[in-house]
């Protein structure tokens, strides 16, 4: 069991470094900035107690905030996303999901369900993130555009990463 936790820890560290050193310097045509680090929350096992999920989301967001001078907006977004996760999983997998599908992956969820899960979660995260960032509603249309386009890009990155990690995180 501890081996799995070390693996999660390493994955989170790599994701954070990749986010702050590489991805934050990438923007396609102006303002697309993939937030790949949300992957660290998306891939956490389903049997994890709620408070662990929320706490890890909070600290993950806070670390990203520390590096991007964004006060605590990433923390707010990741905590909100983590809070919505049980509901999203219930929605995607139906009311009765068994505990065998412990870790989100293509094999456990099925292709379509995983894609819907990722897109929904990333969209929730980006909605909070971008509205917290401008902290006002008078640029609503522009912000909504940023949310949708960035969600699509981040989801694409996350799904590719899920495909790459498929073997490593299977039981």
């Amino acid at each position: 069991m501890p081996v799995v936790y070390i693996r999660y820890f390493l994955l989170s560290a790599i994701l954070i470094l990749a986010q702050i050193l590489v991805l934050n310097n990438i923007w396609l045509s102006g303002y697309f900035n993939p937030q790949l680090y949300v992957m660290a929350i998306l891939i956490l096992p389903l049997f994890l107690p709620g408070w662990v999920l929320l706490a890890s989301a909070f600290f993950l967001g806070l670390i990203i905030d520390m590096f991007t001078d964004s006060l605590a907006i990433h923390a707010a977004a990741t905590v909100f996303m983590a809070f919505c996760r049980p509901a999203v999983i219930r929605l995607v997998l139906g009311k009765t999901y068994d505990n065998e599908t412990e870790i989100p992956s293509f094999a456990a969820f099925g292709g379509l369900s995983l894609v819907i899960y990722v897109v929904l979660m990333v969209f929730l995260h980006h909605t909070v993130l971008f509205f917290m960032e401008i902290f006002r509603l008078n640029e609503f249309g522009q912000t909504l555009g940023r949310i949708i386009l960035n969600s699509a890009l981040t989801s694409l990155f996350v799904i590719i990463l899920f495909a790459l990690l498929e073997r490593n995180f299977r039981k």
Binding site: G30, L62, T68, S70
Partner: protein, 277 residues
């Protein structure tokens, strides 16, 4: 009481969520207005250390461009040297030193973290309190205004970029001295807006925009950009001009921090004379 506890424990997921979300929002809202962020900025020890290592590696790839910029600047400086001029005045004259008092002094710093694609952008510099940098100092380069120092730590400082929603710089049109405010409305980091230009002013495409020198932060006549287009927005009585920024924020590496030596005197006087503001 026990029922309440049982209620909280039963719904601990929801209550923990409320607690953490409130904490995050409080951190965001309270720190927007104060300088004292306790650790949430990239001038703290861990994050600035990582950024500096990264920057040390990354800066090698920009050496050629920096070299070119330095050469250009050197040419400009050499052309201003005294030896390039001959004295046409054949009378005696006295150089009176006390006629000139230095108002601004400059310090060099390099950028170790930068962003242009967010709505509110910040930069991190590799100099801090130890080197004499204080909040509210201006930051410029040879080609334009960069921003204002917001927070300093012992060895690093965080600069609020011109590309920030709370940033407002007093500017003027170079050839007729009409003033306006420079505000960035997001989207494109190569463009910004100059607001509140009275409608009787005649604008031309390509007019030069420079700092007005009215604030205590930036010296006068620092080049910012040129007018690209202008309009009167619905419901407003002023021109809003779209400015092409001369400075490319995307490849910013070296900047100068401006220190205003007479700042306190000016501010004290203004505070005394204009108590309402």
């Amino acid at each position: 009481m026990r029922n309440l506890l049982r209620f909280i424990i039963r719904y601990n997921f929801f209550f923990l969520f409320l607690l953490l979300e409130t904490l995050a929002i409080l951190l965001t809202v309270s720190n927007q207005y104060y300088h004292q962020t306790f650790f949430l900025h990239s001038a703290n020890r861990i994050s600035s250390g990582i950024y500096q290592t990264y920057n040390r590696i990354g800066s090698y790839f920009q050496l050629r461009t920096i070299h070119d910029h330095l050469l250009e600047e050197n040419v400009k400086l050499i052309s201003q040297r005294k030896e390039n001029y001959i004295i046409t005045d054949q009378d005696f004259f006295i150089a009176e030193d006390t006629l000139f008092q230095r108002r601004f002094s400059y310090m060099h710093a390099s950028v170790i973290n930068n962003s242009v694609n967010r709505r509110n952008n910040y930069l991190t510099l590799n100099k801090g309190r130890m080197h004499g940098i204080k909040p509210d100092m201006g930051v410029i380069t040879a080609t334009g205004v960069v921003g204002i120092v917001k927070q300093v730590s012992e060895r690093f400082s965080v600069v609020m970029s011109l590309l920030h929603s709370d940033m407002m710089v007093s500017t003027k049109i170079s050839h007729n001295n009409h003033i306006g405010s420079l505000i960035w409305e997001g989207r494109d980091y190569r463009k910004t807006h100059m607001m509140y230009i009275p409608p009787h002013v005649e604008l031309m495409t390509g007019d030069t925009i420079v700092t007005s020198g009215f604030s205590t932060i930036f010296p006068e006549n620092i080049f910012i950009g040129t007018i690209n287009n202008w309009e009167i927005r619905r419901g407003e009585n002023y021109y809003t001009a779209i400015i092409d920024l001369a400075l490319d924020f995307n490849n910013l590496t070296h900047v100068y921090v401006v220190k205003n030596l007479l700042k306190e005197e000016q501010e004290n006087l203004e505070e005394f004379a204009l108590p309402d503001i």
